[in-house]
Symmetry: C2
Subunit: 182 residues, 2 copies
C-alpha cells in the first residue's frame, strides 16, 4: 500500500495513538488502513461413501485435485460462501451438514474452513476453475496429487472420523517458514 484509498495522498507506516502495531496511515487525511486475514470457505461434499474433488484448471497447483473452496465475499455467511464455491467450481448443489475443519495459515494471513455437505444430486460438472470433477471412494483418492495441505488434512480427518461416524471440529495451524530465496 502506497496511497490512501480515501483521498489519494501517500501513506506512511506508523503506530496510531492507542494502538500497538504499525498501520498504513494517510499523511493527509489520517485515515488508518487496517489489513486483516482473509477467510477461505469450502465444502467436503459427500455422496454415499464418496467425496467430491475438482481438478484445478488454474494456477497455483494446476492439474492437482482440490475441494471446492474460495475467498469469502463481503455480505456472505461462511456457509453461503462454501456453497457458492461448490456451484462455481463444480456446478454442484449441496446442503451444509456442519463446520468440520478450520486451519490458520498465519504466514499468508489466511483462515480456511471446510463444511461437511451432502450433494443433493449428481448433476455436477467442471466450473471455470476446474478441468474435471469426480467422486472418489477412499481407495481412489489421489493422495499424492492433492493441491494443498489443508485438502490432504481435511480428507485424512474425514476418513479417520468416518469409522466412528463422529465428526468433531478439527482445527490445525499450518506454518511455513519464509523461503530463503524468492
Amino acid at each position: 500500500m502506497k496511497f490512501c484509498s480515501q483521498c489519494g495522498h501517500s501513506v506512511s507506516q506508523k503506530i496510531p495513538e492507542g494502538d500497538n502495531r504499525a498501520r498504513f496511515v494517510c499523511t493527509h487525511c489520517n485515515t488508518i488502513h487496517y489489513q486483516n486475514p482473509r477467510i477461505i470457505a469450502g465444502c467436503l461434499a459427500l455422496h454415499e461413501d464418496q467425496v467430491l474433488l475438482c481438478k484445478r484448471s488454474i494456477e497455483p497447483r494446476l492439474g492437482k485435485w482440490t475441494l471446492p473452496a474460495g475467498f469469502l465475499e463481503n455480505g456472505e455467511t461462511t456457509e453461503e460462501g462454501a456453497l457458492r464455491e461448490m456451484r462455481e467450481e463444480a456446478n454442484a448443489n449441496a446442503t451444509i451438514l456442519d463446520i468440520y475443519t478450520m486451519f490458520s495459515l498465519p504466514h499468508i494471513s489466511q483462515v480456511y474452513m471446510f463444511f461437511r455437505a451432502q450433494l443433493t444430486d449428481l448433476n455436477f460438472s467442471p466450473g471455470h476453475e476446474s478441468k474435471d470433477v469426480r467422486l472418489f471412494r477412499e481407495d481412489e483418492i489421489p493422495w499424492d496429487d492433492l493441491a494443498f495441505p489443508v485438502i490432504y488434512d481435511t480428507l485424512k480427518f474425514y476418513m479417520e472420523d468416518r469409522v466412528n461416524n463422529h465428526f468433531p471440529v478439527r482445527t490445525r495451524d499450518i506454518r511455513y517458514k519464509p523461503s530463503s530465496h524468492k
Copy 2:
C-alpha cells in the same frame, strides 16, 4: 474506496474479466482491490464455575459487558488472536481448550469465533478498552447488560452445554435488516 492504493489514481467499480461481481478496479494500473469479511476472535475464559467478562470503556456499547475479542491481525492464528485479546482487554493469561462458537454477520461482513479457554491464574485487570473485569457465576451474569448478541448467544450456549459437559461447536448466522433511518 476512491483511489488506488498502489498508484494513487482513481478507481471505478466494474466486474473484472473472469469474475462475476463488481470490484474496485484502478482506472490507471488496473489493480483489482478485493474487499473481504474480517474475523473477530475472542475467548470464553473459565475459572471453576465462573466466566470472565469485561465492562467496555469504549464505544460502541460503552459500559456493557463483553467477552474479550477483537479483529484478527495479519500473521496471527485464530487462537493467537483470541489470546492476545485476552491480554489486551483483561491483562489475563489463559490456555485455549477448543473452538466453541462461530457467527456470521453478513450485513457487516464479519465472522466471530470464540474459543473456550482456561484461565491460568487470577491476575487479571482492566486493559485499555475495559473499565472492569470480573468473574461471574451463572446466576450473576448481567444478561440484560451484555454488549452484543454474539456474547449473549455464546454464554447461553455454554450454560446449556455445561450441564452435559459436552461442548460441540455452535454456529449461527445473525442478520439485521438495514435500518430505515441513520
